[in-house]
Amino acid sequence: MATDQENGIYTQASDATEGPKTQEMLLNMGPQHPSTHGVLRLVMALEGETVVNCTPVIGYLHRGIEKILENRPIMGGIRYMDNADYLSPMLNETAYAGAVEQAMGIEPPRRAQYMRLLTNELQRIASHLVAVGTYLLDLGAFTPVLWCFRDREGILSLFEALAGSRFNVNYMRVGGVLHDFPKGWLSECTAFLDQLDKNLIELEQLITGNEIFEVRTQGVGYIGAQQAAAYGLTGPMLRASGINWDLRVDRPYMAYREVPVNVQVRHEGDCFARYKVRVQEVYESIRLCRVAIDKMPGGPICTRTPIALRPPRGETYFAVESSKGELGVYFISDGSEYPWRAKLRGPSFVNLQILPELLRGYKMSDVVAIMGSLDIVLGEVDR
């Protein structure tokens, strides 16, 4: 046992191994590295190829989004929420708009709620497709990522037709949404979902039964149910460890109070289970999208709100089930049109905490396998 005080990194020499010991190697993985999903830096102590210790260093993508939100009128802040988890802007906006609505006591019209559900589920599909594709890219398979991005492109095109922008959609408004569907959008969406169903089956045929994929992921990065709950994991990470917890079911918000969701749970708690939960959730989201299209009510898409939104003084917490887990906004208002504080509870940030615990003792090749299965987005970790 030794503590390397100079580097501030706790290193542990393995007492069990006999014979000559090699020197531990300190390896900086990132922030410029192909598979750290952005600019995460991992300081790893390696013994051979075995990870002895790992310290994630974050903050390379810090843009001060929470501080920016405090300095923008509430409507202006919605646009900045796009950049937090840049793979699921619709979900971020829903969380922020929902928090303000909850603080002001506004209930969006029923049509707006269903439009939010539809766009949220499409966004969840897009985010999970990126997660699955880049995960396979981390494991060395080249094709799935391109197939996934091809399918995600369809969703982004739909968003472009709907909101005018592919990526930073700026679509949600306090009290509803910005635009109604353009003509023919819903039928286009249905056609896309049918095609996506076929493509997903093809994707699964390529990946799921593959022996190499199975030996790389099954049993790797095991998180027990108790441990997952203790670390505060949410989303697919938690559900892959056998805990049936989904905010859409357990604290239903908006249209989810009317549309039941089948929560996908697996009990293995390893990387394969996390991958599988994500794929199953894509199927489930496709089903939810179809339900939303079928049940899409008429009526206004937005309630009338004052131009300057002044939520009453008070605090509120509103959380949506984002693609990565519980995405919450803790909203404090002092009665002015600027939020006094808008704290984001990001699922990526919380899920990342378990990484050093998970990596210890695994080989270096497993580092990317485990890290990819966490599905973190550094834009939201650093905010």
């Binding site: 598979s35 909850q102 396979l136 890219l137 060395g140 199975e214 099954q218 056998g242 990317v368 396998a369």
Partner: protein
């Protein structure tokens, strides 16, 4: 005698006799075509890889340089030649500069044993010891990779180099053992019981046709008998040889030394410009060689309809046509195998280092050794029967082994993953109802308004 030689062969007569000889012309043609083949083949393969992978991945691949993107590789090479050659300051300079050449040279040297057609081959020299020479050359590659990994003074490079050394050495053994069984087949086919390790002769053993006198049949099948190619008799060995070839050339799914997502670019990390391109060229050259050796040993080499017939006519024009035809067949078969390389790359994920080693030492080694033993036993048991019967029996046994091998790999996968998942299974099995996690707490979803007149606890004004 010696005085005669000295008197007759003064240096210019020797030189003239050497240069204006049939053998020298043959050497020159062979050398130029081999060297040209390596260079052009690498360029074509790089383009083919990008196009084929683009096709498999539902995208177009390079499209803008030249018609249909055909000049993309030319542009790439031009760029690489003009790029600055960056050296790392703290690197071991001599090794760093030498490593690409050490990697590239054996690749070019290996081509010396490859006959491209009945006449285009470097004559005499290494042909008789084809397989041994090839194996020796392919193991020198490791030195270049090790040098690059060590001298770059980069941790990723070092790990990549070490991984690569371990991998190439491990897979060299089953690769050679897979080839041994082919040599054993030739010794069973030979009249005197002595086999051969020459690639040309192994190819001839696969294509023995008795002249029937029927012109059409003779034209088609003289020197081309696909029913007796060794991939039908030893299919498992082809699969294992090809797998080891993937590992030897550091191609996916065995591309751990240059695993992009883990080691950035492995031993290539610090290289740029033409030195990097030499490694790349070497890799694609290696790919061609592995495919070429597999072509000779299992797919009947350059044989094809018409080759032996045309070259046997003793007519220069028809002989040339036969040679060109042979090169065409050979290139076709080699690129077919290279296509499988690309196909595999775009399909499979990467193995882990320890799983890679286990696969080589615990599965491939015993299987290839067992196959050698089995072939020898069959040879002993079936002594005296006609050779076609021996081939049929060996073929049946080996096809059964192939399916057994596939079943074995599947079983090993299932067993190992089940063992790896055992903590989850155990935790679920022994979980008592009391320890199940309770998360549902019935938190209201509506905002709870603060009582009027009270200040929030968070210190609002």
């Amino acid at each position: 005698m010696s005085t005669m030689l000295l008197a007759d062969n003064v240096w210019w007569t020797q030189l003239l006799n050497g240069i204006f000889s049939w053998a020298f012309l043959q050497f020159l043609v062979a050398f130029l075509s081999i060297f040209g083949f390596i260079m052009t083949s690498a360029m074509i393969l790089i383009l083919a890889e990008r196009k084929v992978m683009g096709w498999m991945q539902d995208r177009t691949g390079p499209l803008h340089t030249g018609p249909w993107g055909l000049l993309q590789t030319v542009a790439d090479v031009g760029k690489l030649l003009l790029k600055e050659d960056i050296h790392v300051v703290m690197s071991d300079k001599i090794l760093f500069l030498l490593a690409p050449s050490v990697f590239m040279a054996p690749v070019i040297a290996s081509f010396a044993v490859l006959p491209f057609s009945p006449y285009i081959a470097i004559p005499g020299t290494a042909l008789a010891t084809g397989i041994v020479y090839y194996v020796a050359m392919s193991s020198i590659d490791i030195v270049g990779v090790m040098m690059a990994g060590w001298s770059s003074n980069n941790k990723y490079s070092l790990i990549g180099g070490l991984r690569s050394a371990a991998q190439m050495i491990s897979y060299e053994l089953p690769l050679v053992l897979a080839l041994v069984s082919v040599v054993m087949l030739t010794s069973a086919l030979a009249n005197d019981g002595i086999g051969t390790i020459s690639l040309l002769q192994i190819q001839q053993y696969q294509n023995s046709w008795m002249k029937t006198g029927n012109g059409v049949l003779d034209f088609l099948f003289e020197g081309f008998t696909p029913w007796s190619w060794f991939f039908l008799i030893q299919p498992l060995m082809l699969v294992i040889y090809y797998t080891c070839g993937l590992a030897e050339t550091n191609r996916a799914p065995f591309d751990l030394p240059e695993a992009e997502s883990e080691l950035v670019a492995g031993y290539l990390t610090e290289y740029s410009g033409m030195r990097w391109a030499l490694f790349f060229l070497g890799e694609y050259g290696n790919m061609t060689i592995v495919s070429a050796i597999a072509t000779y040993l299992f797919l009947g080499g350059f044989s094809g309809p018409g080759v032996a017939y045309l070259t046997g006519l003793n007519n220069i024009g028809w002989g040339l046509a036969g040679n060109l035809l042979a090169m065409g067949y050979f290139t076709l078969k080699v690129y077919l195998l290279c296509f499988v390389f690309i196909w595999i790359r775009s399909t499979l994920p990467r193995l882990r280092a320890d799983q890679l080693m286990q696969f080589a030492w615990l599965i491939l080694m015993p299987v290839t050794l067992g196959n050698i033993l089995l072939t020898g036993l069959l040879y002993l048991l079936l002594e005296g029967v006609p050779s076609w019967l021996f081939l049929v029996v060996t073929g049946i046994v080996n096809w059964a082994m192939l399916f057994g091998f596939i079943w074995l790999v599947g079983r090993v996968t299932v067993a190992s993953t089940r063992r790896a998942q055992s903590p989850a299974v155990r935790a679920r099995h022994y979980a008592s109802p009391a320890s199940t996690v309770q998360l549902r707490d019935g938190v209201p979803t509506q905002a709870v308004p603060l009582p009027a007149g009270t200040e929030a606890a968070s210190g609002l004004k």
